[in-house]
């Protein structure tokens, strides 16, 4: 209780700002002209977002066994709304996490292989730089042509976007290791594997973590983008379904949900990174996690 009060006192300006933002949104909701269409105010007020709009999410539920299906003439139910939101959230999260892990692992391994010699590093430098300059989100239609508008295609797209960053990041990190470290270990008779395990891997870890912070946002954008114009499911797709009928309340609801998910993913990752990097001097690890 005391800690809470201190937090409020210390952060009162920030908290007031958030409150002012919420109130401004609410006021805009009442003041902005309402559209002739039911369910599509220009700026949806909060009681609308968490009332009719949330209930309306049950329109996107498809399996009759668990809740009535409105598209087959059933009525809108709260249970259906939460089931629909949960189902599509799970799909999106699955795409995000699996794409992220696949991309990070493959990107890092490729980066380590390329970074082994200065010849391969030189060979890959320019093509990788050019590859990285291709606007990721503009290539979504190409991935659809190559892999279809499927779940797998979305995962591959996320993995590609994330993987390129890790590929480049790993190469940079390895070439930034002072060569003395490796020479010293070699003089002491360390094997290649031992050098990798005891020197290269710990040394590039902070760089990898700062790539995680960068690519987490990228992966969110990639998965939402892929759902916007490709795969016909997932929480990003729900925004497009809602936008089709200018259902701003539903769009705002999904946006709030995404805000929570993204915030949670950053928070979780920060905790994990701080844990793993606790052996580093605090300034270095903090700048890596920032």
């Amino acid at each position: 209780m005391k800690a809470l009060r201190r937090y409020v006192v210390e952060r009162k300006v920030s908290l007031l700002t958030i409150l002012a933002l919420l109130l401004a949104w609410q006021a805009a909701g009442y003041l902005s002209p309402t559209s002739a269409l039911r369910g599509s105010p220009l700026v949806p007020p909060f009681e609308f977002i968490f009332g009719p709009a949330l209930l309306g999410m049950s329109d996107y539920w498809q399996y009759e066994a668990l809740a009535p299906v409105p598209s087959l003439g059933g009525e809108q139910t709260w249970r259906g709304a939460f089931l629909a939101l949960g189902y599509h959230s799970a799909l999106t999260l699955w795409r995000l996490v699996s794409g992220f892990v696949i991309g990070a692992v493959i990107g890092t391994i490729l980066g380590l292989l390329v970074a082994r010699s200065s010849i391969t590093r030189g060979l890959f430098a320019l093509p990788l730089h050019l590859l990285r300059m291709i606007p990721l989100l503009a290539t979504i239609p190409l991935f659809q042509f190559w892999f279809g508008a499927t779940n797998m295609s979305a995962i591959i797209f996320v993995a590609y976007g994330v993987g390129v960053v890790y590929f480049v990041g790993t190469i940079n990190a390895v070439s930034n290791i002072p060569p003395r470290y490796i020479e010293y270990a070699r003089t002491l008779g360390a094997s290649e594997w031992r050098i990798f395990r005891s020197i290269i891997f710990p040394a590039i870890l902070p760089e990898l973590f700062s790539s995680v912070m960068l690519t987490l946002g990228l992966a969110w954008s990639a998965v939402i983008g892929a759902e916007y114009i490709g795969v016909n499911s997932g929480i990003g797709r729900m925004i497009i379904w809602a936008e089709f009928f200018s259902n701003t309340g539903r769009m705002a609801l999904v946006t709030i949900l995404l805000m929570v998910y993204a915030g949670l993913s950053y928070f979780l990752f920060r905790r994990i990174a701080a844990r793993i990097l606790s052996w580093m001097p605090s300034s270095a690890s903090r700048s890596a996690v920032l």
């Binding site: 700002t17 030189g122 503009a138 190559w146 946002g217 954008s221 946006t255 805000m259 920032l290």
Partner: protein, 275 residues
């Protein structure tokens, strides 16, 4: 003397780096060619893409056939490039101002911090449909989306950069009687510049995709609009062409930003220029 340095033997010599880059590029193109043989129709070979770029650059019957205005890829590219540049410029100006102000006045920091935290974590893409509903299918939606994103990035970068400036510089200037205006103009902005440029590059890198996807969702003009029309008729060759042309502009602007940094930091010792 300079020439001799260039032709010095070794992989870290300029000539060696140049040759390796050329070989790497050639290998990439060869790989692309092989891939196109294997995949077929949906992976057009590099030469076909190059021909497509040249043939449709400033006049294209194919695009006219899809109901797009005459003029080939160029006007669409210029439209998107202009939107991105304008959006990033506005965002950079706002972000640096609020970032430096947050560094100087605690009050500003407390007000902007929650806003930046919220919009820094939110994948800005989800705002795109809102911007399209509120502002319509005009360039304003894309420009404001990009500007918004760039402002958040630059706020974070300029705040961090100004906190990284050695406090002795500031104290010294204040001791000599500098006022706020001189402090920012003569000390903070120059000292934070290398890091700020890093932020500008990040903002640009993401802005291309943002602008393109905003156009994909709904626009009457621009690269994204062209991609939508081409997707409908399965013209992969033209999609690859225009995406690569957009990337070329992205590379060009990145080079310009780097040149600007080199010019603006020419007074710095060499090792201090890179953040």
């Amino acid at each position: 003397m300079r020439l001799r340095k260039f032709f010095r033997i070794g992989l870290d010599a300029p000539l060696g780096i140049f040759l390796l880059s050329v070989i790497g590029l050639a290998l990439t193109l060869a790989l692309w060619q092989v891939a196109s043989e294997l995949v077929g129709r949906y992976m057009p070979p590099p030469l076909a893409v190059l021909n497509n770029m040249i043939a449709n650059f400033s006049a294209s019957r194919a695009l006219q056939g899809l109901g797009l205005p005459p003029g080939g890829y160029l006007p669409h590219l210029m439209y998107t490039v202009w939107n991105v540049t304008l959006g990033v410029s506005i965002g950079v100006a706002i972000g640096i101002t609020t970032g430096l102000a947050s560094w100087r006045w605690r009050m500003v920091d407390e007000v902007t911090d929650p806003i930046v935290t919220i919009f820094g974590t939110l994948p800005i893409l989800v705002a795109a449909p809102f911007f399209l509903i509120w502002f319509g299918l005009v360039a304003f939606a894309q420009v404001s989306l990009v500007a918004f994103y760039a402002a958040v990035i630059l706020h974070l970068y300029s705040l961090r950069a100004s906190r990284n400036v050695d406090p002795r510089y500031r104290d010294y200037a204040l001791t000599l009687g500098a006022n706020d205006s001189a402090l920012f103009r003569r000390i903070m902005v120059p000292a934070a510049l290398p890091e700020l440029v890093g932020g500008i590059r990040i903002a640009f890198a993401a802005a291309w995709g943002l602008a393109a996807i905003a156009e994909l969702l709904g626009a009457q003009f621009g690269v994204g609009r062209v991609i939508v029309s081409l997707t409908a008729v399965y013209d992969v060759e033209s999609i690859v062409s225009i995406v690569l042309l957009l990337s070329a502009f992205a590379v060009l602007l990145d080079v310009l930003v780097l040149a600007g940094r080199a010019w603006a930091t020419r007074w710095m010792p060499r090792e201090a220029r890179r953040p």
